[in-house]
Subunit: 227 residues, 2 copies
DNA sequence: AAACTGCCGATTGTCAACAGTCTGCAATCG
DNA sequence: CGATTGCAGACTGTTGACAATCGGCAGTTT
């Protein structure tokens, strides 16, 4: 078997490895997470099939997978709906996330390579810039990337899966219009503290701080929801 | 809408609420978890469709859902295979499970009702009997139920989902023939300690003990794998 | 004898059509 | 006039058929 010619997969490789249903799944997920398919709305199979130029079969398979990951819910003979996350359920997710974040902090503090540490510190600085210039959307994008990187650096593939699943649920909740309660400058000071603990290889502190960061994030959510 | 006439759903209610794909999914999952579909083996769509007297469509949808929950993996144009969990991946799962078990212990200790406490103590006693009479398979069934009940009593639906997902992965691993390293009498003394902490409403201790129990369980797995 | 090429059966991937069910509206009846 | 019934349209649930692909085997070539 020849080595891949480039790192970016060509269209050919993409078609050969990914099946139509999985591509459709990714595309629908993107629509949901970007809010183009609003939460609670019914999803029309035929319409999606027409949009993607496929038949309904692959679309149905994709929707089944999305149902399993709790991004949509399905009622028999009525269709599938984009899930609506209540604040109670967001709370449940945060409860789990806090526990996982502590685990992530510990693992990253003990396993991260030097390069990864550099990447984290660089990212925190970028977020600092975004904070300074008041660029909220950029901050949010970087924030997502930050936590994505952290769970990656924890070096536990299954943990990455579980964490991303939960994160998607929270993303769905935020789409209801409730952005974090404005405190994103505060949020980044928390990030800095976490990274500092990681760089110092202080596992317990990194874990504790990352858990607290999740808890603060939850508190900001409640504050926003109350308003 | 009339109230349901009985608690056990009739066949009619079952057909009305559950779609064919979801029923097929449950059935296939059962086959996998009971080991009738051996890990690593290829799954034949037509064969399953014939067995369940449906066409391949519903079977494919069910397999997509099972792929999302990581019980099967799928290779394009080659088919779907029952997943094989390596000991490395089982380790990853245990890492997460320990974190969740601590959360479960805390929550149950603070939320469990009196009835639930009674149920737990009763279950531990039943396990004690099974231990005494050397009934291993009964002990394992009760053990599964014990942890299932615990996560239920934690009162976090999303946590229940996540936990059960992980548990299924571990079950898949155990099917490789590696039962816990014999120490199931020891295991139950750990259960008793956990329940005692819960009854005493000592959240921190219950969490710590349940986490340790998971860690011990992981150690038993390693011991069995080494042999 | 080893390696390559081209076919064959089996199985998956996809599609389009049919059947069943729900929702909303209009007509009917008390 | 309000409630109920029947109908029409749209959509989902399921199926069977067709197309594409894969793995293995036989035949051929060097």
């Amino acid at each position: 078997m020849a080595a891949p010619l480039s790192h970016a997969p060509t269209a050919l490789q993409l078609v050969q490895s990914n099946s139509l249903p999985s591509l459709v799944q990714i595309e629908i997920e993107r629509l949901i997470l970007r809010g183009e398919l609003a939460a609670g709305r019914r999803i029309n199979e035929s319409e999606l099939a027409a949009r993607f130029r496929t038949s309904r079969g692959p679309v149905r398979e994709a929707l089944r997978a999305l149902e399993e990951s709790r991004l949509v819910r399905s009622e028999k003979n009525r269709g599938v709906f984009v899930r609506e996350i209540s604040i109670a359920e967001a709370d449940e997710i945060y409860d789990i996330r806090e526990a996982l974040d502590e685990l992530i902090g510990r693992r990253v503090a003990e396993r991260a390579t030097q390069d990864q540490l550099h990447e984290l510190t660089a990212l925190v600085e970028q977020m600092e810039e975004a904070t300074g210039s008041g660029n909220v959307s950029r901050y949010h994008a970087l924030n997502l990337k930050f936590h994505d990187l952290l769970v990656d650096f924890a070096g536990n593939a299954r943990l990455t899966e579980s964490y991303r699943l939960l994160t998607k649920g929270l993303l769905l909740f935020r789409l209801r219009g409730l952005q974090d309660g404005g405190g994103f400058a505060v949020s980044n000071t928390e990030h800095k503290a976490v990274v500092a603990a990681i760089v110092a290889r202080d596992r317990a502190r990194a874990g504790r701080l990352l858990r607290q960061h999740a808890a603060q994030s939850r508190a900001r959510m409640h504050k926003a929801a109350a308003a």
